[in-house]
């Protein structure tokens, strides 16, 4: 097997993790990874030797993700939903998550896709600001602002969740 394919294979676990943080559902996340790999292999020649395979693959996947989110946005799929709708969304059965993990995963899904991507890039995937800005195709200032707002929003949602939990306990 050639070196390029070996390098791509080695990145799959990281791609899956990034996809999972963007989409939550395991099968959908793997579908996104599959699309990313298909596109990458068709365009192997675009990948310059010396360039990090990770950065190249993450860039491809991010574009796929944003393209889809844009279509969703345009189709107006996302009609107004009450807050409770989020809680009604059942977590996939096979995913065993602790309450804390589920809460933070829910909160992460609830922040806007561009902030989510920026935050995950840096906080989970460990890219530097320069690398993440490059992958997401935004200026460093925009990236920083998305990270800051994303963190703030995430914390606010976690506080809300904690409050709702407290209210429920009181009601019991």
């Amino acid at each position: 097997m050639d070196e390029k394919k070996a390098a791509i294979l080695g990145e799959i676990p990281r791609l899956r993790r990034y996809a999972r943080s963007l989409l939550r559902d395991r099968d959908s996340a793997d579908d996104l990874v599959q699309d990313c790999l298909e596109r990458a292999l068709v365009r192997l020649d675009n990948w310059q030797t010396g360039d990090s395979p990770r950065r190249w693959l993450f860039t491809i996947m991010h574009h796929l993700f944003i393209d889809q989110m844009r279509k969703v946005n345009r189709r107006g799929e996302a009609a107004m939903l009450p807050l409770e709708a989020r809680e009604a969304q059942a977590a996939p059965a096979e995913q065993v998550e602790s309450i804390a993990s589920r809460e933070i995963i829910d909160a992460l899904q609830a922040i806007s896709p561009d902030r989510r991507a920026a935050l995950v890039m840096v906080a989970i995937e460990g890219f530097s600001y320069a690398e993440a800005a490059n992958i997401l195709g935004v200026p460093a200032g925009t990236l920083m602002s998305r990270i800051a707002r994303g963190r703030d929003e995430l914390r606010g949602l976690l506080d809300d969740a904690a409050r709702r939990r407290a209210i429920r306990i009181v009601e019991k």
């Binding site: 097997m1 899956r16 996340a29 107006g76 989020r86 609830a110 922040i111």
Partner: protein, 263 residues
């Protein structure tokens, strides 16, 4: 040691390993001297740990065979249908975004991804807001005291049955309105103000062929527009309010405008 003023921005930089080494000691001292900032930093550190923990297991999962197969397959083909498979999950994710923020798509703002039509509407609305909301004496052509005339006049000019929404429940009173150019047609702008003098505006045009909605930001700190286009009209609510508050205003304005159009 570098001396400078630190801010919340530095908390993120420090957390992400982007703070220059020679500023670290001064930053730590600043954090110690600012309990509120320190508490914030501690919360963010904990959130990051929780985020990492929540997804750590994914790296240990065996790579699904279908993914390996793509890499090993000799002749890769890009299938047009493939990208639609996870579309529904993306839709669900977008809906979750709404659940969280309590309004519209908490969208792909500042990415320059929107349709030209909605771009235009949002940009025109934001431009009008920036110009007229800042005017104290000449913000509107027809004041709220002449509301009936305002509604009739704008309805006739724009070509829609326009009813100025009552946003008192959200703390906003009508200041008045004006007529504006919008591309090749006309737009009505309705200006509202709260008790603190914070202003928002509604921008309504009769020109729209498509149906969509979303949010649009003019820049990192500028006002934001929540817009929707439906058959025959487009509307944007513009303001510099927190997203949740602007969303609440937009929801109320939306339902009242719809009711007005149908009346």
């Amino acid at each position: 040691m570098t001396r400078r003023d630190f801010s919340e921005r530095d908390i993120h930089m420090a957390l992400d390993g982007e703070l220059p080494v020679d500023e670290r000691a001064a930053y730590d001292a600043w954090l110690e001297a600012n309990p509120e900032m320190k508490a914030r930093s501690v919360r963010y550190v904990a959130d990051r740990a929780a985020l990492r923990a929540a997804f750590a297991g994914v790296l240990d999962e065996p790579v699904p065979a279908r993914l390996k197969k793509i890499v090993f397959d000799e002749a890769p083909v890009e299938t047009a249908a493939s990208s639609s498979r996870w579309w529904r999950a993306a839709a669900a994710a977008a809906m979750l975004a709404i659940g969280g923020v309590g309004g519209y798509v908490a969208g792909i703002d500042n990415l320059g991804l929107e349709d030209p039509a909605e771009d235009q509407l949002a940009e025109q609305a934001i431009a009008a807001h920036l110009i007229y909301a800042a005017e104290q004496r000449h913000a509107v052509e027809v004041p709220a005291s002449d509301k009936d005339h305002l509604q009739t006049w704008l309805s006739n000019r724009v070509g829609l049955k326009l009813v100025a929404p009552d946003l008192a429940a959200q703390g906003f009173q009508l200041v008045g309105g004006r007529l504006l150019p919008a591309g090749e047609s006309k737009a009505a702008m309705l200006l509202y103000e709260d008790a603190k003098g914070e202003r928002i505006s509604l921008f309504v045009t009769a020109e729209s062929a498509e149906k969509t909605k979303g949010t649009y930001g003019s820049g990192e700190d500028g006002p934001e527009a929540i817009y929707w286009l439906d058959k025959g009209y487009g509307c944007a609510v513009v303001g510099s309010l927190p997203r949740a508050q602007l969303t609440a205003v937009a929801k109320s304005a939306y339902s009242q405008l719809i009711a007005g159009l149908a009346s």
